[in-house]
């Protein structure tokens, strides 16, 4: 844990004296739990006693004082899930993982928790693993869910997945194609743009497969950097009035052949994107 990281979070809430819960949420999002040293810094900076902060941290269920595993499994225990057998599902997870609910496996792979209601009651029993919802879960499905979680749920196979398809794009200003058949990314012609960040200026190649996030660039771009994108033909900046729905950075628009507009987030590492088939429409 770096004290400076905690201070960055605290600065975000400087004017908001009620922001303690948000501060703790941000710290937990960063470290997966609330480290004691981080809480000490929060106490020093906000002037609230450590007891007070621990009071809040232990009052709310969402906070954890011990490190959590790589994968978080939440078994819904809402009434609708309960009458459809959620307790047995939770038990089966406990048995398979060899831990009690609320616990973390010794290899830090899994944390198991039960939650009161996830609000997807019609599909119960519900289990959420790393943000992925599994509906109508039965005890016999538990093993497979754990296996899928270990294999990474967001892994995609470019070759086989029908949800992935190539797009051809052009500049929003000069309408010149941005496709570069000489450089392949994911085995397909890439999208070539000029980028600049932190006084650096160079080319960037994006995969033209919708659903693939592969890029290759002239420089190493640090994660979280907001990049300026330019058309290599007319040198106009590719920038739209839309802000990224996930992080607030400006979006980068490109015209899609066949109709519509694709926008990607200009922040390196943010995977947010939008594909509008009927032109930009806020």
């Amino acid at each position: 844990m770096k004290p400076s990281d905690v201070r960055v979070i605290l600065n975000k809430y400087e004017e908001d004296r009620g922001g303690l819960i948000s501060i703790l949420e941000d710290i937990q999002a960063k470290y997966s739990y609330l480290p004691h040293d981080a809480l000490k810094i929060v106490s020093e900076e906000t002037g609230r006693s450590l007891v007070d902060i621990y009071g809040v941290a232990t009052f709310y269920k969402a906070f954890s004082l011990s490190p959590r595993g790589k994968h978080l499994i939440s078994v819904c225990m809402g009434t609708a899930c309960h009458v459809r057998g959620a307790p047995q599902i939770a038990e089966e997870f406990e048995r398979q993982l060899g831990i009690q609910s609320g616990g973390t496996t010794t290899d830090r792979e899994f944390t198991l928790e039960t939650v009161n209601c996830l609000g997807a009651c019609a599909l119960g029993p519900i289990v959420v693993v790393d943000g992925h919802y599994f509906s109508k879960v039965s005890t016999t499905k538990v093993k497979q869910i754990l296996k899928n979680a270990k294999d990474r749920l967001d892994k995609i196979s470019i070759e086989k997945d029908r949800r992935i398809f190539p797009v051809e794009v052009s500049c929003v200003r000069c309408n010149h194609s941005l496709m570069d058949p000489n450089f392949l990314v994911d085995g397909c012609p890439s999208i070539k743009v000029i980028v600049s960040f932190e006084n650096k200026h160079g080319w960037l190649l994006l995969s033209s497969l919708y659903g693939s996030y592969k890029v290759s660039s002239e420089f190493d771009i640090p994660t979280n950097t907001i990049i300026n994108f330019f058309c290599p033909h007319c040198n106009a900046e590719l920038s739209s009035a839309t802000a990224c729905t996930a992080c607030g950075a400006p979006m980068v628009p490109m015209i899609v052949k066949g109709g519509g507009m694709v926008q990607i987030c200009s922040r390196h590492g943010c995977r947010s994107h939008m594909l509008d088939l009927n032109g930009i429409n806020f």
Partner: protein, 616 residues
Amino acid sequence: MIKLNTIFDLNALHDRLISSAKPEIPTVVITAGTCGQASGANDLIRIAKREILTRGLTERLHLRVTGCHGYCEMEPSVLVEPRGTFYPNVGIDDIPEIIDAAVKGITIDSLLFKEPVTSEPVEKQSDLPFYKKQVRTILSANEKIDPIRIFNYIENDGYSALMKVFGIGKSSRIIAEIKASNLRGRGGAGFPTGLKWQFLADQPSRNGKYLVCNADEGDPGAYMDRSILEGNPHSIIEGMIIGAYATGATEGIIYVRNEYPLAIKHLLIALRQARDLGLLGENILGTGLSFDIKLVKGAGAFVCGEETALIKSIEGKMGEPRQRPPFPTQAGINGNPTAINNVETWANIPVIIRNGAESFRSIGTKNNSGTKIFSLVGKIKNTGRVEVPMGITIGEIIYDIGGGPVGKAKIKAVQTGGPSGGCIPSDKFDLTIDYDSLAEAGSIMGSGGMIVMDEHTCMVDVAKYFMNFLKEESCGKCFTCRKGTQRMYEILDDVSNGEGSLEGLELLEELANSVKDTTMCQLGQTAPNPVLSTLHYFRDEYEQHVEKGKCPAGVCRSLITYSITEKCNGCTACLRACPEEAISGKKKERHSIDQSKCTQCGACWSVCKFDAVEVL
């Protein structure tokens, strides 16, 4: 985004959007609320985009991604406009075909919904039995709106109520209109909204006044608010701006539980778009009104749905309720006057303003006007979210809309109002839905959870479930709630283990009544409801547990045994499912259960397709 500086700008934008819309072009609508996404809606969207692009159909077909339409059992579903064709449980392989048909203006009969009795295909969503008896003044908007696009909302008359309010120009007339509508708080307690606004408007503003949207939908089994937050966030924002204009509030807060990531995402987008467009912030549309809304996330505490606890949580403290008065309208957030309304209440505001109080009052009954949204879940065929006029009977909801039981087991009760509510037995299903009659029957309206229970649901187990929930969620401030819920749970646990006694049941009842009378906040005061209502209507089930050591529903583990009957054909499904390896038997021969290994988990019973596993 271009900022709107006047009411005329907003009106002009609305007109421009209407005139540039092309309603004659067919639109494929994919429902992608949390339920839809959990059922694979995101994959459908991808495939639909791929098809439309690769086949060059962008000029001939539109795609709209929306929040939930309500019929969760049929998710992921696709609706094709303008015909209103409804395709239930769509798989990714069906999408190319649906797109083809949509472009040609035809339907695919094999993919349509089948009427359960006659097996006849039903094409239009509005003709489905699930939708027929509903009155969807709020929820119908979900189909029309892509929640992350503010223009979509404006095109569908969004923010027109706000324009009307600015046109009226007098805050007292807005409050009078809300009062005239008889709108009562949809969070469950049913306090008249107009009156609450009046209280806030009457308070002097020293350091500002607050409006809060209570989106801490904590009742397990209830998700009405989530689907409004996800599917139509601007309706809440519009309602709150109207509220600010009427009451003189300066700041708005939407308090959302963090278990709703999609709702949070859509709200943040909606707030940002409204701010960019000039509908939030300083001098809104040049009217002089300054009002902004921020989002505060909860952190997993049920008690924070109680208004004084919610205020503490917004202030960044432990969410412990406090004594009232002073009421929040007198002293709320940081001591400033605060009015708190539930999500559904806020969503009703634009509807009332747009159509007038009289039109709102024409739905429902005299003291219970308008519609109420319920989440109909549990042991019922058509699970989903339903919006019905007040005054409809429980039976109509369960049998006509809900389609009755799933299998052969009879429905025996419905639980309303979450942990604060009670169970209503099936012989009382002619009861009408309104705040007063439900309270009379020992339950409450609550926020709208409706959990259906059948013969395989044990009422002792249900009471124990709620008491377990409440003992965990009690904030601990009042002794009677903290210890009372704990002790009630212990007695119920004894009953479910076959260790209860008749005296224990009497003690339970006495204790329940004491907790009711001696706690401070609503959580404690209503905590005994699940116990008292089940004791009242299902005492025989309790007595069977205590006297005969039997659980008639076959749920309480210590009181049941599983065995395999001669119906078994040796398919080995149970053998493979048993986590304890307690089942043995050869293929195609009758299996048996080793009772010393069996933990009564019920896995064998749930996988058996031949009714060969018996519970005794």
